[in-house]
Amino acid sequence: MNTTEKKRGGWSWWYLLFVIQFAVALWPPFYNKAEPYLFGIPFFYWFQMLWVIVSAVFTAIVYFAVKE
């Protein structure tokens, strides 16, 4: 119980999800390709759209995992 108490306002390992979110979003070589297509949409576009959803899920996980 006291572990959440100690984390208050400080670092939480759950924030690593944010680091992943940043690293992928800011590394264009990773997604700058046309293949594979999805419904005719090049990877560059559908992957970044997918990453929006993944990032929102990550943020929601952090919201529930890190209590204030």
Binding site: F18, A25, L26, P28, Y37, F44, W51, V52, I53
Partner: protein
């Protein structure tokens, strides 16, 4: 220009009439004493999760965004999609950093970034620099919202000479000014809800109907020229389009929440929980922005720029006409009217919030600090209301008399200027290690360097830094704020040794930043 589109115009006017009524009625919503600045300028800090979602959404995703991002995709291709990683990474920043700022501002009743910097560092000149930067960066942003409005008004076939051509814009402006004056932040907060419902309807209808009309996404992307489809792969001696893309996203993300209107939206939230929740929910807008960016490709595939009926529009508004032309081409007039109303109302919401934010800054960090130290509540809110009018009038005059391209260039520069407030505002939320004079000099150096870089490349976004044989093109805001930070770090021990800062008191304590 094409003929007057009566059906679209009538729908547009009806929806505008509705939000005008709503804007005035908002004064009575969650009623508060509008003669107090925090009621007028922050909605009494009472907005819950849902209203904050719409309000911050209205801040980030403006009419100009809806016009300019697809226009960039239409003209330049893949690079326009930087708006997606940009609006992905803003939310962790909101979750962590602006959550802290909300706490400390709530605790001490701070209403602006200038208030916070003054309280934290006790240096009113540093606060003044933050305040002026905020106002100057916001003005061209407001002007660009009016450009968004101009484009959709033009798309409905309203044209003319002199005053007649500008009349619709003037009417919209008067509406905006009047409801902002009377209702404060409650007006854009309530109108944002209508605007977003209309935008979502438009975006989803378009993303289903238009690909169907054009024969599917496969055909659409096949019609996009290869050099626009992906970022150019950089050569061996340059980081090329990759570093430009990533730094544009990163720099824009840090700049965004430093803009006064973003902070106004965040500070009007009723609790820190509201902010954290919104960080998880706001990416809903990012997804929609990604869809909207694809409209640029829809426009390429539909070939609207080659159709004679839109030639005049493209001639007048350039690529910014791509989305309106696409909507006119693909939808019946009544639906085009709904979509144009969505964009037009989407201009009024951020313009209102921006002018309120600028007014809060002037009132708190210039007027109260340097002119009238002990205003009554009523005097203070009155100053803010008048300032909001003056700020908007300035933007209007700018749009009517200065070519649009200067507003766009100034807005690009605005991003470079506003990010220079990162060290005192964002780092200030974590540490008071910095000397306030060192921060002030860092700010000045960063502003000068960033502006010079932008001018050196004729006001483009990215500056190609040459190191030896290598080139690192990146957003000038990122380079200049790093220089700013370096100066502040180097000068802090120097100024501390000169003991120039020892007597300054930090109003805040560590626990103020936590829940």
């Amino acid at each position: 220009m094409q003929e007057l589109n009566w059906v679209a115009l009538i729908i547009f006017i009806l929806l505008f009439g509705f939000i005008t009524w709503l804007g005035f009625a908002a004064a009575r919503w969650r009623r508060g004493d509008l003669d107090q600045l925090h009621e007028w300028g922050l909605g009494g800090r009472r907005f819950g999760t849902v209203v904050t979602w719409f309000l911050v959404g209205g801040d980030v995703y403006t009419a100009y965004t809806f016009i300019a991002v697809p226009a960039l995709a239409f003209g330049a291709g893949a690079v326009a999609f930087f708006a997606v990683p940009y609006t992905i990474i803003i939310y962790p920043l909101m979750f962590l950093i602006f959550r802290r700022l909300w706490n400390v501002c709530h605790k001490h009743g701070y209403m602006t970034a200038g208030d916070f910097v003054k309280g934290r560092f006790g240096n009113r000149w540093l606060a003044l620099a933050v305040c002026i930067t905020g106002i100057v960066a916001t003005m061209p942003y407001i002007a660009l919202q009016l450009v968004g409005l101009q484009v959709v008004i033009g798309a409905m076939g309203i044209s003319g000479n002199g005053l007649m051509a500008d009349l619709p814009l003037l009417i919209a402006f008067v509406i905006l000014a009047a409801f902002t004056y009377s209702s404060g932040l409650r007006a854009p907060a309530s109108i944002a809800i209508v605007k977003d419902i209309l935008i979502y309807i438009t975006a989803f209808a378009a993303v289903i109907v238009i690909p169907y009309q054009l024969g599917g996404f496969g055909k659409i992307f096949a019609s996009v020229p290869a050099e626009k489809l992906l970022l150019a792969v950089p050569g061996p001696e340059s980081t090329g389009a990759y570093s430009a893309y990533a730094t544009l996203a990163l720099g824009s993300a840090f700049a965004l929440f430093l803009y006064p209107h973003s902070l106004t939206g965040i500070l009007s939230a009723s609790s820190g929980k509201v902010i954290r929740r919104n960080a998880a929910m706001l990416p809903g807008y990012t997804f929609m922005l990604g869809l909207l960016a694809l409209f640029g490709f829809f426009a390429i595939a539909s070939g609207v720029n080659k159709l004679p009926e839109y030639a005049a529009g493209f001639k007048h508004f350039g690529n910014n006409f791509a989305v309106p032309a696409l909507l006119l081409h693909s939808f019946p007039s009544w639906f085009a009217g709904v979509a144009f109303a969505a964009i037009g109302i989407g201009a009024l919401v951020p313009a209102a919030i921006m002018s309120i934010a600028a007014a809060n800054l002037y009132t708190r960090n210039v007027h109260r600090e340097f002119i009238n130290k002990n205003p009554t509540d009523k005097q203070e809110s009155q100053v803010a209301k008048w300032t909001s009018l003056i700020v908007k009038l300035g933007a209007l005059i700018f749009i009517l008399f200065v070519p649009t391209k200067y507003a766009i260039q100034l807005q690009l520069l605005g991003g470079i200027w506003i990010i220079q407030t990162l060290p005192p505002v964002i780092l200030g939320a974590y540490t008071r290690w910095f000397n306030s004079w060192a921060l002030l000099i860092g700010w000045a150096v960063g502003t000068f360097a960033g502006t010079s870089m932008a001018i050196a490349v004729k006001i483009a976004n990215t500056y190609p830094l040459h190191v030896g044989d290598h080139t690192f093109p990146a957003y000038a805001a990122v380079y200049s704020v790093l220089l700013n930070l370096l100066v502040a770090i180097v000068l802090t021990p120097v100024f501390n040794a000169l003991s120039a800062d020892k007597t300054r008191v930090d109003q805040t304590v560590a626990s103020d930043y936590q829940a």
